[in-house]
Every structure is written in structure tokens, then in C-alpha cells.
């Protein structure tokens, strides 16, 4: 909340788009800004009406460098936009730096995301230090189609304007905390010596030489990847990571998504009855990849590029534990099978589980 708690004294506000960037179609600018307003009207009693030719509460415009508000823009990148807290005149207004590459998708800077953030200021919010919050100061792309206002921002704006009038109160995603004992994972893979833990829109990176666990949006590195990755494994020999969601999979070569993906998992030999893969790991000694679906596992021969015969088999028959595996990876010869808040360390040579730990034990909490 901005110091002094500035807020609009009325709930029905107006906005006007003073000028348009030539980098986007006019209709796309309108749509991006309209969607940005709906982010806040969906969670508060506020309403926003677009006006064309009169003074509006919130005036939006694209400006160059010094535009006479004591806050000159700095050209491409750097400062993308700014906005003023609620009030008369320039209060609530949003200025976009015209020299940015404004777009409606993941290229350049997405106008919807930036507008939604600036409108937070127009309504009285200041910056949040929650890295997953919309009101976090730095830009990060999320596919507008998948955008959900995070809980941190909902809490902030409702502290100013109260709850939404909707019968069912909207809630939003919460940023994972590495040392949260209740943290569970969607998928885990190694990637050139790091361990990547996938959770919703986020990835937690564990680098062997860094103390801190880094949390980023998946989209920061791979804007075209969806959130909610369900399985992943690294084929160290080929320097590839395969990522799975529903009946599709993508291949990373190094850090780059290989063109031509996603492909269907049936391409790997799964029957049509399999709709998704829950977890996967590649056994670095045998070169075989193990896939987990429901209570069964499959074995794939990376050299022959085909599923081994005689699969699927029951997980309990090989791993000795009757569990559904959420995520799996191999490190130093041991296989780590994650189920909720617990992980099981499996010794492929002894063919038994040798240890049970908290799922978050990899983070130096």
C-alpha cells in the first residue's frame, strides 16, 4: 500500500487512452488495457468505464523521454512505465515508455502485464517484495491467457477497497517458499548440474555452488512453455531435457526449446489410454528412462527409441513402495521418488528404498 494510503473515494472509475503506440494494432491495445482493468475489477467492488473524449480518472498515454512530469523515460528497456497514485489531475494516470517494444504476446514487453502492474499503482498499491506478485518491481512475462492475479496482490488491493461483490471470493496463486514444509513438486529434473524443481508457474533452481535457491517463473527462461509441468527428465548423454504436460512433451537442448515441439507422448510409444505422465527419470548407468503413470511405471530404451516390452508394471513390484510418484530424478546413482511432502531414496543396485526424507531436504533450510 502506498504511503499515506491514497485511494479513490468512489468505486466507479473512468479511463481514457490518450494515444496509441504504432507498434501494436489499436484493437490489441484496447484489448490489453481492458483486460488489465478487469484484473482489478474481478477482485474488488471497483468498476472501470472507458471514455473517449473527456477527462477520465485514469488517463493512459505513451510518452517519450522527458514528458514534463519530473520523471523522464530512459529509452528502450530499463524503466518501462510508471503511474501516479490516486488523486485529481495527474493522479491515477499511467505513462508508457513509447520506446519499448510493446506487444500482445511474449516478445518484447507485454502491454497487458505492464498495464495491470501500473494500474496497481493507479489504485494505490506500491511495490511488493513477493517475487511472484504482479506488483513486484521487475518485468516478467506470463501468458495473458494463463494470467491469475496472485494472492499477494489480491490481499493488497482488498485491504484498500474491500472484497469483491462476487458470491465466490476470488483467490490467487501463492509463490512457493523453498523452506515451506508443505511444499510439494509437480516435476523435477537435473539440468547441466543443477536441479530444477517445477511448481505451478515457477521453477526453483538448486545450483551446487549457490547457497540461495533461486525462484523464477518458468516463462522467464521458456516463454512458450506452459505452467504446470507434470514430468521432466534429463538425458545427459544427449544434453537434452524432456518436459511433459498432459499428452504433450517438449525437448530442451541445453537451455533452448528444440523447434518442432511439443509432440504427443504417443510418439514415445505410450498407448492412447495414457493421458499424462506423472514423473520420469533417466537411469544414467543403463540409459533407460523410467516413466510413472498412476500406479505403474514404463521403461523406455533411449538407444532403440522405443518402450521396452513387458511394461507397464506396478511401481511396488520394482521400487518396493506402493505410491504414486509426483516427481523423480537421479543423482549420484540414487533415484529420488517424490510423493507429496515425502521423498524416497531408491538404490537401483540394492533394488530397495534406503532412506525417506522431506521433499524440501534439497534446499538448505
Amino acid at each position: 500500500i502506498t504511503t499515506g494510503n491514497p485511494k479513490w473515494k468512489k468505486n466507479n472509475l473512468t479511463y481514457r487512452i490518450l494515444n496509441y503506440t504504432p507498434k501494436m494494432r489499436r484493437a490489441d491495445v484496447d484489448a490489453a488495457i481492458r483486460k488489465a482493468f478487469s484484473v482489478w475489477s474481478n477482485v474488488t467492488p471497483l468498476t472501470f468505464q472507458k471514455v473517449e473524449d473527456k477527462e477520465a480518472d485514469i488517463m493512459l498515454s505513451f510518452a517519450y523521454r522527458d514528458h514534463y512530469d519530473n520523471s523522464p523515460f530512459d529509452g528502450p528497456n530499463g524503466q518501462l512505465a510508471h503511474a501516479f497514485q490516486p488523486g485529481e489531475g495527474i493522479g491515477g494516470d499511467v505513462h508508457f515508455d513509447e520506446e519499448e517494444a510493446w506487444t500482445k504476446d511474449g516478445r518484447g514487453y507485454n502491454l497487458f502485464i505492464v498495464t495491470a502492474h501500473e494500474l496497481g499503482h493507479s489504485l494505490g498499491l506500491s511495490h511488493s517484495n513477493d517475487p511472484g506478485a504482479l506488483m513486484y518491481p521487475t518485468y516478467s512475462y506470463t501468458d495473458p491467457k494463463e494470467f491469475l492475479l496472485p494472492q499477494d496482490d489480491i490481499d493488497g488491493i482488498q485491504a484498500i477497497y474491500g472484497r469483491s461483490n462476487a458470491a465466490v471470493q476470488p483467490t490467487g496463486p501463492i509463490t512457493p517458499q523453498a523452506c515451506d514444509p508443505n511444499l510439494t513438486f509437480d516435476a523435477i529434473t537435473t539440468l547441466r548440474g543443477e536441479i530444477i524443481f517445477f511448481k505451478g508457474r515457477y521453477m526453483l533452481r538448486r545450483h551446487p555452488e549457490r547457497i540461495e535457491t533461486e525462484i523464477n517463473f518458468i516463462s522467464l527462461f521458456w516463454p512458450t512453455l506452459p505452467s504446470g509441468i507434470q514430468a521432466a527428465y534429463e538425458n545427459v548423454e544427449r544434453d537434452e531435457v524432456l518436459l511433459f504436460k498432459e499428452d504433450k512433451y517438449w525437448v530442451l537442448n541445453g537451455y533452448n526449446i528444440v523447434p518442432g515441439y511439443p509432440k504427443q507422448i504417443y510418439h514415445l510409444g505410450f498407448p492412447k489410454t495414457v493421458k499424462r505422465v506423472n514423473a520420469a527419470y533417466n537411469d544414467e548407468t543403463t540409459g533407460k528412462t523410467y516413466f510413472f503413470t498412476a500406479d505403474r511405471y514404463w521403461r523406455y530404451d533411449e538407444k532403440k527409441k522405443s518402450m521396452d516390452h513387458g511394461y507397464p508394471r506396478k511401481i511396488v513390484s520394482h521400487f518396493g513402495k506402493k505410491i504414486r510418484v509426483d516427481a523423480a530424478f537421479q543423482e549420484n546413482g540414487y533415484v529420488y521418488l517424490f510423493h507429496g511432502k515425502t521423498q524416497f531414496q531408491f538404490d537401483p543396485h540394492a533394488k530397495q528404498i534406503v532412506r525417506e526424507m522431506e521433499s524440501i531436504s534439497w534446499f538448505r533450510c
Binding site: F73, Q79, Q85, H127
Partner: protein, 84 residues
Amino acid sequence: FPVAPEAEDERKTLQFVESYLQNFYSLQRDHQPHLRNKGENPLATKLKEMQAFFGLQVTGKPDPETLEMMKKPRCGIPDVEQYV
């Protein structure tokens, strides 16, 4: 004499850090040496504030991770204090 490249880089980095802290962490633009109090220099203090805000290691020094964060495209509103 032309400035040695490293010294030039360092000067530019310091300028960049100073401008970032002036824009977003209300580092006073005119902190003259004679105003400096006996305590920590204002730049280090503000740098620590910025590092704490972003959850970085609080070193008070423009280390690589801090510079990496400063170079990220961002909103023009300060992270602290009221923007008027």
C-alpha cells in the same frame, strides 16, 4: 591519460548503481562528501535496502547478482518512499 578500461568500467558501474538507487531507493542526489556522517556511506545503506527488498544477499556491495537484478527491465515507480 586515458582511463584504464577496468577503472572506466568500474566508474560506469558505480554511476549505474547510483542512478538506480536515486531513482528507486531515494538516494539523495546531492550527497556531498562533507555532508557524510561518521556512519556508513549512504550508497551502501541504500544498496543494502535494495538487496533486502529483492531477497538478495545483503552485502552493501554491487555484487554480480545485485547488478543482474538492477539491469532487469522494471517499473519506474520507486520501491520505497512515496512517489509524488
